[in-house]
């Protein structure tokens, strides 16, 4: 069972408080009218399914009700980072590959690095801004 850092509650919570909601950074086509059936089908049904680093969206359903993203290894189940909506991951399959090639040891200390960006300004921001 995962122990997930909620970037809004700013602490780890048990997986039971969350729900996975599929691939992160999914964008609805901006102009559906001019989207082909194939493109629309891709948007509806075709998802990344990597064996390894995956960026996925979760919702802290029984906590703050906020959606956020997790970078997780789908084989080891290690959570590498969690970050709020609207931000980009700092760890990707590409960065991991580079890191591996450079022989960098995995950082120790807990399950995940916390927050993709050092400072989260969410507290004094409206989510809609």
């Amino acid at each position: 069972m995962f122990y997930i850092y909620c970037p809004y509650c700013k602490e780890h919570r048990e997986e039971e408080e969350f729900h996975p909601r599929g691939q992160a950074h999914l964008l609805r086509p901006e102009d559906p009218e001019n989207t082909s059936d194939e493109e629309w089908g891709d948007y509806l049904f075709f998802r990344d399914n990597p064996r390894g680093i995956h960026h996925e969206m979760w919702v802290h359903s029984v906590g703050c009700r906020k959606f956020f993203n997790i970078t997780r290894n789908t084989v080891t189940y290690e959570i590498l980072e969690t970050y709020p909506m609207g931000e980009q991951p700092t760890i990707t399959a590409e960065t991991e590959r580079v890191r591996k090639e450079q022989g960098v040891q995995a950082a120790d200390g807990g399950w995940q690095t916390v927050g993709a960006r050092p400072e989260n300004k969410a507290l004094n921001e409206e989510t809609s801004s």
Partner: protein, 1013 residues
């Protein structure tokens, strides 16, 4: 019967507290502190069970979780039966009743053993794949007999009288195992101030120190255990959990610990004098660091007839003598590959019984214990091993021979030694199970001749499990691990633990021996058991490899090696070694097996906890529930809600049937006035300047012009164009809306709104909050609704001022209310929302005034009939995730020309959604009005077509209509709207074929005049 094998002094038992118990119908005595196994051995009980496949006599082999044979059926009563309890792990209590799981008529004289003896040779591994195939029709009969022969204990046949629960913990350091390493780890971490949990599966903490010959600070090691536990027990930051098995290690250091709370005391908590106490508790622990100090399991040697009662692992012999004061025999032969096992012989001799010989596979053993044995006058036979046990019901002798392990042959002559016990040791296997539960593979260590844990983040292995076998090393490794764990968990500083002094002992090198060679070969050798519980022999493994099963997983599966309730704790490594030898590979080349939870079997009840019976799932109640109960409602489960289904009247001791009640309720609404508790509908408060825009995006229809004071029905689709929910939304203020959802859809719709807002359109200024529980909703409907309402409200109900699809606020029964003129019945209707705390008074006041109008409460069934008569759909009943608004004929609710490309729109122009022969919602009128079509009945056009028939659709809703005095139905039908007036057929399972006419979905008041009055 007296305790023939009990010695007069020593051990951790309390000889002043005698306990009575029954095994296989025979009464015995034991002492407090015994396990069932030690008490059985004390009483000289040799045969405790019969084996699974060959029905061979089996005795106790080990002293802990690794025991494969001593499985018993526990419990004195039908409802307290526990199957397959390991006697070595069951604390003895007064009145304990146990039986062997197998053996008929009894374990001593088992009829099946003759089958095993005569037929055993016809049962090589996988024999069942090769036979029982003809005639094909006989398999179910063969299977019946195979099943009867299989299985171990029996499931209880009555409900469990005990309860179970869960407890959640968070700690800095969880230490698994309270042997020397675990204790020093816990002490080291605890003194640093860390929050520590220490658990141990045994009845008493201390692990190997409880039967150790060694001293710490020059006193018996067990004294140090006592001191340490006293200190740990006094610390506020330490939780001690004895009788607690760490059974599963899960991701991110989540560990489940199963604590036996009353199982060691009596059959049930009540019998133990603790009514209300859980029989077992599952601790769900999130640990920052886990110290795994689970120690080792000793490996027995695999020699012929090694399963006869009287064969034991060497360490178990020591445990029984030193911890329980039981010598499990009179004369011992020890067969070993290492120094450590010599303890068994020394303990045996010190207990006053005869050691016939120590047979050591090594050519030149010369450690301290070896010297001690020799000095004590024990005969040590070197370069040799016990190759076969003699005996029928119990060991009567050992055949010993010199062995050449490199060529896997015996050399020289065979000596027969007389003895009644053979102890063996082939070395030690670290108990790596937990460390591999999350998929990390154990690593083979050539020096240790065993697998040690692989690297698991957050887990530190310490002591025996990481290959530190000497006591001083074990203690030091534990202390190091405990300190490291505390520091890793964020404790700033931790002192190094001062360890008690040990006496240095020199141990010689062990040798690698698993299966012992025999003078015969292959299946001609008397059976050499690798996995006793599953009757897997060395030759079975050999045969499997010969048949092409070369992966260790194939070998395991073909032979069933390691699939028992002991999960191969004794046998797996031996089995792999044998497979490796047969395949000409090394053990690490053959691979390793990954263990899965549980470490030892865990009661279902403990995993379930208190999530059973009435707490299995929440029952959600509305604010009016008490009234419904008091007025005789029958309830329907809708999601977690308990909703009144119908309100049967009782008169003269006769209760109305549902049909009668629903007919009465329907007519009351159509002709007078009825009332429905609709509080379960989802309600979402939406505020913000972009609320209207947002609605336009998530609903298929238009919202731009809905004025305050007005209500509109909306359809919600997913982006695949399929309907997901529906409901009305009211404009409360220009920037303020109240959305209703279906009862089942409430949570999902709120999340749906949030996900689009938070991820796709964060720029829209709008907030959503659930107010489902805040508002109670009651629907007053029927021609007399206005009359009734006018008596209790100050709202002007004039039909011109308060029109259909308007809402107003005012007081109802003295309570501030919002009243909505919306109708799900087709009749004049007022939906009243009041704050739930005041709902009951409103409801009761309505009934006070409603009596003269025969105000009739109705439930979900009547609601369904009334809405279906009007052709109004229920999402999830008339739709199934493959239905578009177009399919439902709801073109009027689709705003194709809305400026924003709302959710679901694009999908409606895909080839499949544009198909001309899609299923469409229609009404069906059975030709025979007495027929109420079955919901789910399939529609065909040609009733004479042979199977498979061409199904054109199905009935989604079907009821008897009291107003029409006829059955009627809603259905989805291919090209349904083109088929108005056609006859369709519904072939039923009883052979009848119903005929129905395709009609409009609106059966009553097609112009909708009644709701507008």
């Amino acid at each position: 019967m007296t305790q023939t094998n009990r010695i007069s002094a020593g051990g951790r038992i309390d000889r002043s507290r005698g306990l009575e118990f029954t095994f296989n119908g025979q009464r015995y005595q034991g002492f407090a502190g015994d396990t069932l196994a030690s008490a059985l051995l004390a009483n000289g009980v040799d045969i405790v069970n019969r084996s699974f496949k060959y029905s061979r006599a089996r005795g106790i082999v080990a002293a802990g979780a690794e025991e494969p044979n001593a499985l018993v059926q526990l419990g004195a009563r039908k409802d307290t039966q526990v199957p397959n309890v390991r006697a070595t792990q069951q604390g003895l209590y007064n009145g304990l009743v146990a039986r062997s799981t197998n053996g008929w008529p009894n374990v001593q004289r088992d009829v099946m053993s003759w089958v095993g003896k005569l037929g055993g040779n016809f049962m090589p591994p996988g024999f069942y794949y090769k036979t029982f195939m003809s005639p094909a029709s006989m398999w179910m009969t063969y299977e019946k007999y195979i099943r009867m022969g299989a299985g171990l204990g029996r499931a209880p046949t009555e409900s469990d009288p005990d309860i179970y629960d869960h407890m959640h913990h968070h700690c800095d350091v969880l230490v698994v195992g309270a042997g020397p390493a675990g204790l020093s780890a816990a002490l080291s971490a605890a003194r640093s101030g860390a929050r520590v949990i220490l658990c141990d599966e045994q009845e008493e903490m201390g692990g190997s120190l409880l039967d150790s010959r060694e001293t710490l600070d020059d006193v018996a090691a067990v004294r140090w255990v006592e001191q340490t536990l006293t200190e740990l027990g006094s610390m506020e930051n330490v939780t001690l959990l004895p009788r607690t098995t760490a059974n599963g290690y899960h991701d991110h250091n989540f560990v489940t610990l199963h604590e036996r709370r009353t199982e060691h005391l009596a059959d049930t908590a009540s019998d133990a004098g603790f009514p209300g106490m859980p029989r077992a508790r599952m601790h769900r622990v999130r640990a920052t660091r886990v110290v795994l100090a689970s120690g080792t399991h000793e490996r027995p040697l695999v020699y012929a007839n090694n399963d006869l009662p009287g064969n034991m692992v060497a360490g178990a012999v020591s445990t029984y003598i030193r911890r329980y004061g039981v010598v499990p025999g009179n004369s011992l032969v020890l067969s070993t590959s290492n120094d450590h096992a010599y303890r068994a012989a020394l303990d045996w001799q010190e207990a006053g019984r005869k050691v016939v010989a120590i047979v050591d596979a090594r050519a030149n053993p010369e450690g301290d214990l070896v010297r001690q044995a020799r000095d004590s006058g024990i005969r040590v036979i070197t370069g040799s091993a016990v190759i076969e046990a003699k005996g029928t019901q119990r060991v009567s002798g050992a055949r010993v021979s010199a062995v050449d392990l490199n060529h896997f042959v015996i050399t020289g002559s065979i000596e027969d030694l007389e003895c009644d016990t053979i102890a063996s040791s082939g070395g030690y296997s670290p108990v790596v199970h937990l460390a591999s539960h999350t998929g990390t593979r154990p690593q083979w260590d050539d020096k240790l001749l065993g697998f040690v844990p692989g690297e698991v983040k957050g887990l530190i292995a310490a002591g025996g499990v990481s290959g530190h076998y000497a006591l001083e090393e074990t203690l030091a490794d534990g202390a190091r691990a405990g300190r490291q764990a505390a520091l890793d968990s964020g404790i700033e500083s931790a002192e190094e633990l001062a360890l008690p002094a040990t006496r240095k002992r020199r141990d010689g090198e062990s040798c690698a021996i698993y299966q012992v060679p025999h003078e015969k070969k292959g299946l001609r050798v008397p059976k050499q058991f690798v996995d006793m519980q599953n009757d897997v022999t060395a030759s079975a493994i050999e045969l499997a490899t010969r048949e092409g099963f070369e992966s260790i997983e194939h070998v395991k599966r073909y032979t069933a090696l390691g699939f028992g309730t002991d999960q191969g704790k004794l046998g797996n490594i031996n089995g792999m070694a044998i497979a490796a030898r047969c395949l000409g590979r090394s053990i690490p080349e053959v691979g390793t097996t990954v263990f899965r939870p549980n470490y030892t079997p865990i009661t279902f009840g403990a995993i379930v906890g208190r999530h059973c019976d009435e707490l299995f799932d929440p029952k959600r109640y509305t604010a009016l529930h008490q009234w419904h109960v008091e007025n005789g409602a029958e309830f329907e489960d809708v999601g977690q809600w308990k909703r009144p289904w119908y309100f049967p009247h009782s008169a003269n001791g006769k209760k109305e049937s549902m049909h009668e009640a629903v007919a009465r309720e329907c007519l009351a609404v159509r002709q007078g006035v009825g009332i429905l508790d609709a509080s379960t509908l989802g309600k979402i408060d939406i505020q913000g300047p972009d609320a209207r825009e947002f609605l336009g995006r998530v609903y298929t229809n238009k919202w731009a012009k809905l004025a305050p004071g007005r209500v509109r029905y909306g359809l919600m689709c997913k982006d695949d164009g399929m309907l997901m929910d529906d409901g009305t939304t009211s404009c409360l203020g220009d920037n303020h809306f109240l959305m209703t959802t279906t009862t089942g859809g409430a949570a999902g719709v709120l999340e749906w709104l949030e996900i689009w807002h938070q991820t796709e359109w964060p720029e829209l200024q709008v907030y959503f909050n659930s107010v489902t529980d805040h508002w109670a909703t009651m629907t007053v409907t029927g021609p007399d609704a206005r009359k009734l309402m006018s008596e209790v409200t100050d709202i002007d109900l004039d039909r011109e001022k308060f029109k259909f699809m308007d809402w107003k606020e005012g007081n109802v029964a003295g309570v501030p209310a919002r009243v909505f003129r919306i109708s799900f019945t087709g009749e004049l209707a007022y939906e009243i929302n009041v704050q739930a705390n005041y709902a009951m008074q409103v409801w009761k006041t309505l009934f006070e005034h409603g009596e003269k109008y025969n105000l009739t409460p109705y439930g979900t069934e009547t609601m369904h009939v009334l809405r279906a008569e009007k052709g109004l759909i229920i999402v999830g009943q008339d739709t199934d995730g493959s239905v578009t608004p177009e399919d439902l004929g709801m073109h009027w609710a689709i705003g194709y020309d809305k400026p924003f490309h709302w959710i679901g729109k694009r999908a409606l122009s895909r080839p499949d959604t544009m198909r001309g022969d899609r299923k469409q919602l229609v009404g069906l009128k059975p030709k025979d009005p007495k027929v109420v079509l079955e919901e789910g009945a399939q529609i065909v056009l040609d009733p004479n077509e042979s199977i498979p028939m061409s199904m054109m659709g199905h009935v989604t809703s079907s009821y008897y209509s009291p107003e029409l005095d006829s059955g009627f139905a809603l259905a989805v039908l291919k090209k349904g709207r083109e088929r108005m007036g056609e006859t369709v057929y519904l072939p039923m399972s009883d052979g009848k074929v119903h005929e129905a006419e395709v009609v409009s979905t609106v059966f009553i008041d097609p112009k909708g005049e009644r709701q507008n009055v």
